[in-house]
C-alpha cells in the first residue's frame, strides 16, 4: 500500500452548501457542487494507490483512481466516461451514495486525514459532462436478443445500460409517468434535482434503450407475456409499498405514509401548488415517525413546506438511528428536533377526523441481547400527548405484490421479496431480479450493484442460447 507522503493536505476541499437559513425556504439543491478549481485541488490529494482500496469498497467496482487521475489532468469528459464504464448513474451516485461507508471508508489518505472526497469528484465529473455534452460510447454489434426490464429505478436502469452496450435490444417498462423509480418519487429535489435524474435517464435512452412509462407489469402485461416477446426479463420493481404501524388512528386525515408524502412532494411537485395540480398539507406542527433516511427526507420537506415545528419521533436513541450522519446533521441544521426513545401508541383526531395529537410513550433500551442489539421497551406511566397538525409515517417500505400475485411459480420470501440465486436469477427460467425487490429497502448503489451482477448473468445466459 502506498504510504501517505509528508506534506499532504489533510483536509478535504469543503463542499459549498446553501446556508440552513437560505435552504429552509427553498427546494433547491443544498450542496452546490465543486468548481473546476476545487475539484482539481481535491483530486491533487489522491495518492493513486495501485491497489485501489477505494474501488474494492464500491458496489459497482468503479475505477476510482483512474477517473481522479483524469480530473487531475483536466480531462473532465474522459473522467466522466471512465466513471460511466462501470456506473450508469454517476450524477446520482455522486450525490446520494453513502461514500463514507464505502469507497471513502477504505481511502489510504483517510488514515491520516479526511479521505479523498470521491463522491464530490464523481459528481463534479458527471455534472461537467452534463453541462458540456456527453459522448455516447460505441456499442457491441447487435446480438438480436431482446430483454425486458421491469422498473426504471436504479437497478433497472443499470441493467438496461449494461446490456444495451453489449448489443442486446433493451426495453424498460416503468409504471409511473417518469423514469427513475425512487430517485424520482422518493429522494427530494434538494438532495437530488429531478432534472439530473431525467438527464441520466435520457443518456440511457441515447445509448439505445427503449424507455416506456405508464406500463405496469402484472396488469398491462404479465411477466409470462413478456417472455413471449423477450429472451429474458429483469424485475427491478423496488420496495414501493408503505408500512403502517397498526395503531389506532392511522386512517385519520393528514396522516401520511412517507411514500404518499414524498410522492406528492417529489414526483408531483406539490411544493409548487397550485401551479402543480397535486396539493399537500403540513400545517405548523409535524411529527415524523421513524429514524431512517426517508424520515430525514420527509422532515426536511416539511420544513421547506412551511412547518414551524418538525419533530422526528424515534423509539431508540441517536446512536441506533439508521439515517446517514450527514442527513441527520442537515436536518438538525434546518431546525428539525428529535424525540428519541419515544414511541407512538395511538393517533387522536378531532370531530372532522383530522389528526390533532399523538399519544406517545417514553422508551428505554434493554441491555444488549445475544445478538448485541438493545431492544426498546416502554417505560410504564410515561405516556404523554404531542400536538400535531400532520403526521408522516416513515417506518419502512415493502415490495409491491403485483408481480408476485400475477406470476405463477415465482418463488418469494414470506415478507414478499423475490428469491434469487447468487447471479440474480429467480426460480423462473430467463427471469432475473435485483434491487429492493430482492433485498428489501436498501441503498441506490446496492440496487445498482445487483443490477450490474444480473446484467452479467443475463448476458451469459443470452450468449449461451
Amino acid at each position: 500500500m502506498s504510504a501517505p507522503k509528508p506534506g499532504l493536505r489533510k483536509e478535504a476541499v469543503p463542499m459549498p452548501k446553501q446556508t440552513p437559513q437560505e435552504r429552509k425556504a427553498n427546494f433547491k439543491e443544498v450542496a452546490i457542487g465543486y468548481t473546476e478549481e476545487s475539484a482539481l485541488s481535491e483530486a491533487q490529494r489522491c495518492l493513486q494507490c495501485k491497489e485501489a482500496p477505494c474501488s474494492k469498497g464500491c458496489p459497482v467496482e468503479m475505477c476510482i483512481p483512474e477517473f481522479i487521475k483524469l480530473i487531475k489532468e483536466h480531462k473532465f469528459s474522459d473522467a466522466a466516461m471512465k466513471i460511466r464504464e462501470k456506473n450508469s448513474l454517476p450524477a446520482v451516485c455522486g450525490r446520494v451514495c453513502p461514500q463514507e461507508e464505502q469507497c471513502q471508508a477504505r481511502c489510504t489518505v483517510g488514515r491520516i486525514g479526511d479521505p479523498i472526497s470521491i463522491g464530490r469528484l464523481e459528481r463534479f465529473a458527471a455534472d461537467w459532462e452534463r453541462q458540456h455534452g456527453s459522448v455516447i460510447p460505441e456499442k457491441a454489434a447487435p446480438t438480436g436478443k431482446k430483454v425486458a426490464i421491469v422498473g426504471a429505478g436504479p437497478a433497472g436502469l443499470t441493467v438496461a445500460a449494461d446490456l444495451v452496450k453489449l448489443g442486446h435490444e433493451v426495453s424498460v417498462f416503468e409504471a409511473l409517468h417518469k423514469p427513475g423509480g425512487v430517485l424520482t418519487y422518493g429522494i427530494p429535489e434538494f438532495r437530488l434535482p429531478k432534472k439530473i435524474v431525467e438527464a441520466e435517464a435520457e443518456y440511457i435512452g441515447k445509448l439505445g434503450v427503449t424507455l416506456r412509462t405508464d406500463a405496469l407489469i402484472g396488469r398491462l402485461y404479465t411477466v409470462e407475456e413478456l417472455l413471449h416477446n423477450f429472451n429474458a426479463v429483469f424485475i427491478g420493481s423496488g420496495a414501493g409499498l408503505p408500512t403502517f404501524l397498526g395503531i389506532p388512528g392511522e386512517n385519520l386525515c393528514r396522516v401520511y405514509s412517507a411514500n404518499e408524502f414524498l410522492i406528492r412532494v417529489n414526483l408531483m411537485k406539490s411544493y409548487d401548488f397550485p401551479k402543480a395540480g397535486t396539493p399537500i398539507y403540513v400545517g405548523e406542527k409535524v411529527a415524523v415517525i421513524g429514524g431512517g433516511n426517508v424520515a430525514m427526507d420527509s422532515a426536511r420537506c416539511a420544513v421547506r413546506l412551511g412547518a414551524k415545528e418538525v419533530k422526528i419521533v424515534y423509539r431508540r436513541s441517536k446512536e441506533e438511528m439508521p439515517a446517514r450522519a450527514e442527513e441527520i446533521e442537515n436536518a438538525e441544521e434546518e431546525g428539525v428536533s428529535f424525540e428519541f426513545l419515544t414511541s407512538p401508541l395511538r393517533l387522536l383526531g378531532n370531530e372532522r377526523r383530522t389528526v390533532k395529537s399523538i399519544e406517545c410513550v417514553r422508551m428505554r433500551l434493554t441491555e444488549p441481547d445475544k445478538s448485541g442489539r438493545r431492544r426498546p421497551v416502554p417505560i410504564e406511566g410515561s405516556n404523554f400527548l404531542m400536538d400535531v397538525d400532520s403526521v408522516i409515517l416513515a417506518i419502512g417500505r415493502t415490495p409491491n405484490p403485483i408481480i408476485k400475485q400475477t406470476t405463477d411459480d415465482l418463488v418469494t420470501a414470506d415478507w414478499g421479496g423475490i428469491i434469487v440465486d447468487e447471479t440474480g436469477k429467480t426460480s423462473l427460467n430467463a427471469v432475473y431480479a435485483g434491487g429492493d425487490i430482492v433485498t428489501g429497502e436498501a441503498t441506490v448503489i446496492s440496487a445498482m450493484g445487483a443490477g450490474r451482477k444480473a446484467a452479467r448473468a443475463i448476458h451469459e445466459f443470452l450468449s449461451e442460447k
Binding site: H177, S257, G277, I402
Partner: protein, 275 residues
C-alpha cells in the same frame, strides 16, 4: 400520447371520452380503472373504465367536471391527446352467475355500472338496473342501461324524474328476490344502498374511489377501513363488501383537500382566461 377519438356530452358537465389505448383495451375488464394525467404539472386522477372496444383499441371513461383536472379534461376536444394514461388498474369486478343482480349507478357512475351490468347479463344473470342522479338533467346512460338490463328503475334526489331518493329500493329488494347488489356512485349513495340491503343480508359490493396518486399500491392515500382491516382501494378494490366499509371514515378522508381543490380550480380557470 393517448388520443381522444370521441367525446360525447352526456349531461351539462358530464362527458364520455373514448381514448385510443390499444394495449390497455386488450386487457381491461369491468370494474378496473385508469389513471390519467393531462400535462406536465398535472395531478394523477383515477377514472373507472366505462367501456372497452378491443377491435378499435379504445377505452371509454365518463368524467363529471367537479375539480380542476376534470374541468380541464372537459375542455379537451376530439382529436386532442393526453400524455399519460395508466391501466388497467385494480382487480376486475366479480362477474359470474349470481342469479338476479341489482346494478345501481349514481351520477356519472351510471356509465361504468353499465359496463358491469352488460358483463353480468352476458354471464347469465337477470339484471335489474337503477340509474340515479341529483336531478333529471344529470341522468346519464339511460338508453344503454335500458337496453342492457331486464328491468330499469330511475331515481333523482329532487324527484324531477322517476322515484324521489332511493327509499324505493327497500320495497324493490323486499318484493324481488335479489341475489347480489352492485353499486357505483357517490359515497353517500353507496352508504344508503348498503344500509338498505344490510337488514336483508343481500350481498352488496360497492366501488370505492378514494383519493389516489399512483394507483398501484405505493402511496396508501386510498386506504379504506373494511371490516376493521386497512385495505388499499387501488390494489384490493375497487369492489368492496358494502356491509363492511367504514363509509364515515372514507367521507372524512375525501374532504382532506376540499379547500386546495377549490384553489386549484380557480387558479386553472384564471390561467385559461389569460390564454
Amino acid at each position: 400520447m393517448y388520443k381522444i377519438e370521441t367525446k360525447r356530452k352526456l349531461a351539462p358537465t358530464i362527458n364520455l371520452f373514448t381514448f385510443s389505448a390499444e394495449e390497455v383495451a386488450a386487457k381491461a375488464k369491468p370494474g378496473q380503472f385508469v389513471i390519467i394525467r393531462l400535462d406536465e404539472d398535472g395531478e394523477r386522477i383515477p377514472l373507472t373504465i366505462a367501456n372497452v372496444d378491443k377491435e378499435q383499441g379504445t377505452i371509454s371513461v365518463a368524467c363529471h367536471e367537479v375539480g380542476k383536472t376534470t374541468a380541464q379534461l372537459g375542455s379537451l376536444k376530439e382529436g386532442d391527446a393526453i400524455p399519460n394514461l395508466l391501466g388497467p388498474l385494480g382487480k376486475p369486478a366479480a362477474i359470474e352467475k349470481f342469479g338476479t343482480v341489482l346494478c345501481v349507478g349514481g351520477g356519472v357512475m351510471a356509465a361504468p355500472i353499465h359496463f358491469k351490468a352488460k358483463a353480468l347479463r352476458e354471464a347469465g344473470n337477470y339484471v335489474i338496473g337503477v340509474v340515479g342522479a341529483a336531478t333529471k338533467d344529470h341522468l346519464v346512460f339511460l338508453e344503454e342501461m335500458s337496453k342492457t338490463c331486464n328491468e330499469l328503475y330511475i331515481a333523482t334526489d329532487d324527484g324531477s324524474e322517476g322515484y324521489k331518493g332511493i327509499d324505493f329500493l327497500k320495497d324493490l329488494i323486499t318484493k324481488k328476490k335479489i341475489d347480489r347488489v352492485v353499486a357505483e356512485g357517490p359515497v353517500l349513495m353507496l352508504k344508503a344502498v348498503a344500509d338498505t340491503t344490510h337488514p336483508l343480508k343481500i350481498p352488496t359490493v360497492v366501488d370505492l374511489i378514494p383519493t389516489m396518486i399512483d394507483g398501484m399500491g405505493m402511496c396508501g392515500a386510498c386506504r379504506v377501513g373494511v371490516g376493521g382491516k386497512m385495505l388499499f382501494a387501488c390494489v384490493d378494490g375497487l369492489e368492496f363488501d358494502g356491509h363492511q366499509v367504514d363509509f364515515d371514515e372514507l367521507l372524512a378522508r375525501l374532504k382532506t383537500y376540499t379547500l386546495q381543490e377549490k384553489v386549484a380550480k380557480v387558479f386553472w380557470e384564471e390561467g385559461e382566461k389569460t390564454i
